[in-house]
């Protein structure tokens, strides 16, 4: 069994959702995670709220800090969860159930976690 990160991307992080919408989303996300955890395949999860977010870039070899929302960068990462799966296919099946995908233009990226064994 390997570990995979499912990274949630939002098309436009600057759009502010209503508190009711956010709450419904939270519930849906927890139901999705609960379904994975019920199969004993959930490892960890990290939400990444936009509030207070900063972006660091380099200009003339010097770091430049910009406050969010992110100007040129439209796409933002909303959070990630780590799951256990036998294959990429299984991890992708988990990803398909993520409520983030209900938003047009949003996406999920599935990445295998390096084992830290010096090879991966």
């Amino acid at each position: 069994m390997e570990e995979y990160a499912l990274i949630m991307r939002h098309e436009d992080g600057s759009k502010i959702a209503s508190p009711e919408r956010l709450q419904a989303w939270m519930k849906q996300t927890m139901d999705w995670i609960g379904g994975i955890a019920a199969q004993n395949k959930f490892v960890s999860g990290t939400g990444l709220p936009l509030e207070g977010a900063k972006v660091i870039t380099t200009k003339n070899s010097k770091p430049v800090v910009t406050n969010g929302p992110f100007g040129d960068i439209k796409e933002t990462i909303g959070g990630l969860i780590v799951v256990k799966a036998d294959s990429f296919e299984e991890a992708v099946e988990f990803a398909k159930g993520c409520p983030v995908l209900q938003g047009e233009g949003n996406s999920l990226e599935v990445r295998k976690i390096a084992k830290g064994d010096g090879v991966h």
């Binding site: 519930k27 927890m30 139901d31 995670i33 609960g34 955890a37 019920a38 199969q39 004993n40 999860g45």
Partner: protein, 408 residues
């Protein structure tokens, strides 16, 4: 109270006190001697009281006799070591200074320290529960064997090994230090939780014994609440959970001893006093930032004290099961969550998720599938109930499943 009832009653309340105080006094290495002296004290009580009648203060009588017996025992062993073992310095205290302190305060302290001693990480969980029942709750070997559905010999061996382990590990009977207390408390809570579950879910036919087990688990948990250092939110949460569960004790079984499922229980049999107590301690548990699995389980149990089938209730329970599974996976939580999912999102979605749970050696898994397929596909429901029947081990479970098949 008549004498025939008084002695068993005193045995239940005083045996554990005498044993722990003696053991605390002499050290864990003399735990069997402490038990022997306590047993011997009760034997004397039976003999003496039968002929001479009850003393004015039976408890005080027991303490005095236990004290004397302890003095005699160590006097003899001192003579033994002086005369026979020669110069070998013995570890026994001098009899002159021997005075067993059986004050309420010392009893409570000794019990607390003993609780932490028994729940030492070096002892296996099953043995911890056995030791707790014997030393802290004063259960007989017979009763422990009945509770665990096994025989006296197995329990005796288990306790013997556990006591030997306490000796070899040189576990001290003391309250853990401040830095250690949180880790050790975790262990204590697990044992108390299992002790309670043993009573609540036990297959034993002995109803009184099962309730006793739950009462004892609650008594010990409450002891932790009464102590400032261990009165932590998660302890209150565990106690709250126990209150909510016990509130349904009377409603869970019919006159024939068969289990009545939650949905069919008569809620007027639920103990309102315990429910209110549960709510109070759940409130007490809400201080601080830590959300333990006891908090979540108490939350789930709280919602179950509301009988009506509202959307709000099941949605809240589903969220709590999601959290519980994220915190700690267990097959039973996974199965329960899926049942709750069917209440919130309908049976078809629940079936879809249930099929992925992969718990095919668990009869509850097939019971759940049977339940979910009922009315959607009764043939499949029957198939699953039959599998559940084959996998179930106890008569009670088989009766419950057979009823479901007959109802299809």
């Amino acid at each position: 109270m008549e004498q025939q009832q008084l002695i068993p009653h005193l045995f239940r309340t005083e045996f554990r006190k005498i044993t722990t105080v003696l053991c605390k006094h002499f050290g864990i290495e003399h735990i069997e001697i402490a038990e022997d002296i306590a047993s011997d004290t009760f034997l004397s009580a039976v003999e003496t009281w039968t002929y001479k009648g009850l003393p004015a203060n039976p408890t005080a009588w027991l303490y005095t006799v236990a004290n004397n017996k302890a003095i005699n025992y160590f006097h003899r062993s001192n003579i033994f070591s002086k005369k026979i073992a020669g110069d070998i310095k013995n570890s026994y205290p001098q009899t002159e200074e021997l005075e067993i302190n059986l004050s309420d305060e010392n009893i409570t302290d000794s019990q607390m320290q003993m609780l932490f001693t028994i729940c030492h990480p070096s002892i296996q969980t099953e043995a911890q529960i056995g030791l707790a029942l014997r030393i802290l709750c004063g259960f007989g070997i017979n009763e422990i064997a009945t509770a665990f559905l096994t025989n006296n010999e197995t329990i005796n061996k288990r306790l013997f090994r556990a006591k030997a382990k306490l000796r070899t590990e040189k576990v001290k009977i003391e309250f853990p230090g401040k830095t250690e207390i949180n880790d050790r408390l975790e262990n204590v809570l697990t044992t108390l939780y299992l002790l309670f579950s043993e009573g609540y879910y036990s297959e034993s036919d002995d109803n009184v014994l099962r309730e006793d087990l739950c009462d004892e688990a609650m008594r010990l948990t409450f002891m932790l609440i009464e102590n400032e250092q261990t009165n932590q939110p998660k302890v209150n949460a565990l106690f709250s959970l126990m209150c909510f569960h016990s509130s349904r004790f009377a409603a869970r079984k019919n006159e024939k001893g068969e289990i009545i499922l939650y949905a069919e229980q008569d809620e007027s049999c639920w103990n309102q006093e315990l429910i209110i107590k549960g709510i109070y301690f759940l409130h007490e548990a809400s201080h601080g930032n830590e959300i333990s699995k006891y908090h979540i389980e108490a939350g789930i149990a709280y919602w179950h004290t509301i009988k009506s089938d509202t959307k709000e209730k099941w949605e809240n329970i589903l969220q709590l099961y999601n959290q519980l599974l994220v915190l700690e996976y267990s097959p039973i939580a996974a199965l329960n969550r899926t049942y709750v999912l069917s209440k919130v999102k309908g049976k078809r979605e629940a079936i879809w998720e249930a099929e992925k749970l992969n718990l095919t050696s668990n009869h509850f898994y097939f019971t759940l599938l049977g339940e979910l397929y009922t009315e959607i596909d009764n043939n499949k429901a029957k198939e699953n109930f039959k599998k559940a029947f084959e996998l179930s081990k106890t008569q009670t479970d088989q009766q419950t499943i057979q009823k479901k098949i007959d109802q299809l």
